[in-house]
């Protein structure tokens, strides 16, 4: 019964994502950009297929991130703002089931958004014989894990804030996770105090590290991404997702409507 309620909510998120025009338009646009870069690279002398792969992976990243933020930041807070929450929470559903259901639906919807772009990338790798489709799929899987983590963060924030605040803070967390590399390296290079060095280390280990999900360079340069790396990164993503969903569910449990 518990898992079926989560599945029901997830199904609703999927249905709504498909009916709203925003995500399908984003997907179409992303596919269009990848296709256009594929044809441009074929006609341009001296440009290797790795350039196309890099463009495709970057487009998948950018459009996937945008889709994630648009979809997830409106899920929980949008229900509250539009007052549809009353009809849902008056049904036999626990609040954490609603949070988890929204998450599951969102990551499923994002996977469906990303899939066509990955399919186009795989097609051109196959036809041009420029690298391994499997490695490209691995890289896309890791990107999807990054989107899943971002979804969990956005849901966690949305459990106590409005849609716009949730989207903005999620972007901030995303940006900080890249800047922290600069901060920790600067601290390590410049600091003479053990305390600040430890602080830098703590920041590195305790803040979300989205670079873990970035293997595009390896894929573009035809390297093999070990399965063990996929497994470990999946574990990392699961821990992050569980953490932020736990926080979000706890906050949402105490919230009044």
């Amino acid at each position: 019964m518990i898992s079926s309620v989560v599945a029901v909510v997830a199904r609703q998120v999927l249905q709504e994502a498909g009916r709203r025009r925003t995500l399908p338009v984003l997907v179409l646009f992303g596919c269009g950009v990848i296709l256009s870069s594929a044809f441009l690279s074929f006609f341009q002398l001296g440009v290797e297929v790795k350039f196309f792969k890099d463009v495709a992976m970057t487009v998948i990243f950018l459009f996937g991130t945008t889709s994630t933020l648009i979809l997830v930041s409106t899920q929980l807070s949008g229900e509250i703002e539009s007052r549809t929450i009353y009809n849902v929470l008056s049904k036999p559903i626990r609040r954490w089931e609603l949070v988890v259901g929204k998450f599951v639906g969102a990551v499923a919807a994002i996977a469906l958004c990303v899939a066509p772009m990955v399919a186009i990338l795989a097609f051109f790798i196959y036809t041009d014989r420029g690298g391994s489709i499997l490695e490209a799929v691995k890289a896309s899987y890791l990107l999807w894990l990054a989107f899943a983590v971002l979804s969990a963060i956005a849901l966690g924030i949305a459990s106590f804030s409005t849609s716009i605040v949730a989207a903005s803070l999620s972007v901030l967390v995303f940006v900080v996770s890249y800047l922290k590399g600069a901060v920790t390296t600067y601290v390590a290079l410049v600091s003479r105090s053990p305390a600040t060095a430890y602080l830098g280390q703590a920041l590195y280990y305790l803040l979300p590290n989205f670079e873990n999900f970035n293997v595009r360079t390896a894929v573009v340069h035809d390297r093999i991404v070990p399965w063990a790396y996929l497994g470990r990164t999946t574990l990392y993503a699961l821990v992050l997702v569980a953490f932020f969903l736990y926080l979000g569910a706890q906050i949402f449990e105490e919230r009044e409507f």
Binding site: Y178, T185, N209, E211, T217, A218, R223, R232, E254
Partner: protein
């Protein structure tokens, strides 16, 4: 009946547990990171780290675009400008450096930069340092190992290091042609260093490559002849 409350201690313990798991998972991931992405094990300066952080996930693509400009400008300059040996390398060198900051696996940029530093700017020490950085980030790159061997040999006359790099290039060579090139280089380095026996040993390895037996025999005979003719 009040709002469902949970003691703060329990919350804190759960969060601490999550953070511990997160740190542990990161340690597990870090064991593989130098192999699969472009972060760890790269001796970036603070400036490089800042640039990379701000550019974020599009740095690979930015590196590609910069390379297109470098490649295009270099070839256009050579075709149109006149000087076939030297294009506007000095102006492009910072771009090459930036490309390697953005994408430490951009072997072509390291190879080009190392070549320019050695052959055009007459800065062999910086050239080998640039090559070594590239090799550290791309340990399986034939081009970088082979190129480094050349510079160590011709410009720095550091024969042991040159021979070592050439031997590594032979080990990672993608095919017989590249393997022959690397072994050829190693043999000549050893011969230059006066290690005729070592050079002969390497030529024997060349003789095991199909199609290169005759070449190996010729060079072995030449070296043995020079060894016996030496007073």
């Amino acid at each position: 009946m009040t709002a469902p409350g949970t003691p703060w201690v329990r919350h804190a313990a759960i969060i601490a547990g999550f953070l511990a798991c997160l740190a542990g998972a990161q340690v597990l991931v870090d064991a593989y990171r130098p192999l699969v992405n472009d972060e760890a094990d790269v001796p970036f300066s603070v400036a490089a780290v800042v640039v990379r952080s701000f550019v974020g996930q599009v740095r690979g693509l930015l590196a590609d675009f910069l390379w297109l400009r470098v490649d295009e400008y270099q070839h256009r300059r050579r075709i149109v400008g006149g000087d076939l040996l030297r294009s506007d390398d000095e102006a492009l060198m910072p771009l090459v450096r930036l490309i390697t900051w953005l994408n430490p696996h951009f072997v072509d940029a390291y190879a080009l930069g190392g070549q320019w530093l050695a052959f055009h700017f007459d800065r062999p020490i910086e050239a080998t340092a640039f090559y070594e950085e590239g090799i550290q980030n791309n340990p399986q790159s034939f081009d970088l190992l082979n190129g480094a061997a050349w510079v160590y040999w011709r410009f720095r006359h550091d024969y042991p290091t040159a021979a070592k790099r050439a031997a590594e290039a032979a080990r990672v060579a993608p095919d017989d042609i590249h393997k022959f090139q690397a072994l050829w280089l190693e043999a000549h380095i050893l011969a230059s260093a006066g290690d005729t026996s070592g050079a002969i040993r390497v030529w024997r390895q060349v003789g095991q490559i199909p199609g290169y037996e005759r070449t190996a025999e010729v060079w072995i005979a030449r070296l043995e002849g020079s060894r016996t003719s030496r007073p």
